[in-house]
Symmetry: C2
Subunit: 290 residues, 2 copies
């Protein structure tokens, strides 16, 4: 039952950024984004007070890294399959007006998410994706998620973005692949090579192609990005029969994933992740009676 | 024709270390190792003089990174298939008594080696491996090499060691996998997971297993090593029918690769890489009439 009359504050509190939403009557009345991610905050109680001073003295529902070991307090993981009911029933209450949404876990193999679950469930709540769907949230730790009956049924995290960042900054390839990534022929060539799922050798091939004069350095970053994203897409789609993959990301990174997914013969739809988050936190807040 | 009467100096000149050999009558009469790899040397002509002052005023035949863009002068790559004849015919002569052994390249996909070729050919010359064999040289950039008729027929480089080093030093897993690697159950569990060839997801699983309390941190480095080596072994052996893999490495790293290869049902033999290098450089020197 949705308490559409209610007002509360929601925070999507990540590692380096945070977004605060004022929710009124089941809608976002106001929102603001800043750089106060959990790593920039020492006193979370004081931050919560500052948020209330700025947005109103209202119930506060938070999600993301604020519930991790580097956040305010550790909110437990709810095992998948998990929907808004399971998350609402397992909020970590700091006080009777302040709560953190739990993460979601799966075993065999072990995997965890924290923050993404709100977007995922919200995407279904807002009818941005069907109740049974394959979603991908690209990023440092890319989530591939199977939704079934509107709940998170299972998921896999690939540290594709982190590997790319490490390789751009350190080691043999850093000088070659530090440039901008463009969605073009070199990226798609990388996606094709990613089908081999042989990262350690394909990455060395970037160096060898330079030494043998086979590829311009200006294309190396795009090729490397295609290789990493392409490997990720290849292994994930091998196990999935969905015709369409719903991509929750900004248009740039989302566009790269969409191109790689389409190269594998699947359709893609870009989903607005901010709209998904607000729909998700509103649904969880309503379920919890916040 | 082997000029067994001749004396010359050979240098295995790598990035961070170097080993000098005095060759007399086709045998190593004396050798010495130091930390003067190419990155520690500015004036190579002066270093060559210093080597001659210490070991005798003799012809000097060098191999390894000394022939790279960070070395004395760039020796070209000889395309595979390549044997001692092709290498001896393509020495880069600095002066009539001083030469650098070329590297070996292959295309489709692009790959290069520089320094390893002497060990590989020497292993056959010294009858340490058969003329038709699969060899692996584990390390920062692991080489997998198919020898045919005593020549380097084809090869693949996997930057397995570099990826492990990057992950131990930077990013999400650094705090977990910085410890010692042991050849035990956790390593072999990693080798098994490596069969999935899904590095980006399996690596995140190390973090998830910790958060869910599924694996002790003391085993994480061994598991990660097994995962990376296991992925490398899995993709390579899929394309190879050799019953035995010859491992050119020190016993510790060689032992890890041997265990992973044996877990895939192949036999292994550890080959002494120093003996292989000296046999190779003696054969090339003899061919070149040095």
């Amino acid at each position: 039952m949705v308490n559409v009359e209610d007002r509360f504050l929601a925070v999507d509190w990540g590692t380096t950024n945070r977004r605060v939403f004022l929710i009124e009557g089941g809608q976002v009345a106001r929102s603001a984004r800043d750089g106060k991610g959990v790593t920039a905050v020492e006193d979370f109680a004081r931050e919560a007070k500052a948020i209330r001073d700025a947005f109103g003295d209202l119930p506060l529902l938070m999600a993301g890294m604020v519930g991790s070991t580097i956040g305010w307090r550790v909110a437990p993981y709810v095992p998948a399959p998990a929907g808004t009911a399971e998350l609402a029933a397992n909020l970590l209450w700091i006080d009777p007006r302040t709560a953190i949404v739990p993460g979601v876990s799966t075993t065999g193999p072990a995997d965890v998410m924290r923050g993404e679950e709100v977007q995922l469930l919200g995407a279904v709540e807002a009818s941005l994706v069907p109740a049974d769907a394959l979603l991908v949230q690209p990023g440092t730790h890319c989530k591939w998620v199977e939704m079934a009956g509107g709940r998170i049924a299972g998921f896999t995290t690939a540290m594709t973005g982190e590997l790319f960042a490490l390789l751009r900054k350190h080691g043999l390839l850093a000088a070659q692949i530090g440039g901008e990534v463009a969605l073009g022929a070199a990226f798609l060539e990388g996606v094709e090579q990613g089908r081999k799922r042989d990262l350690a050798a394909s990455l060395f091939g970037i160096r060898a192609a330079k030494l043998l004069g086979e590829r311009d350095d200006k294309d190396a970053a795009s090729f490397a990005s295609g290789l990493l994203i392409g490997s990720d897409v290849a292994v994930r789609l091998e196990r999935q029969s969905h015709d369409t993959v719903h991509v929750l990301a900004d248009p740039v990174l989302g566009g790269l994933y969409a191109a790689a997914i389409e190269a594998h013969g699947r359709a893609t739809r870009l989903v607005d992740s901010n709209a998904a988050f607000s729909a998700g936190i509103i649904a969880i807040g309503a379920r919890a009676g916040i």
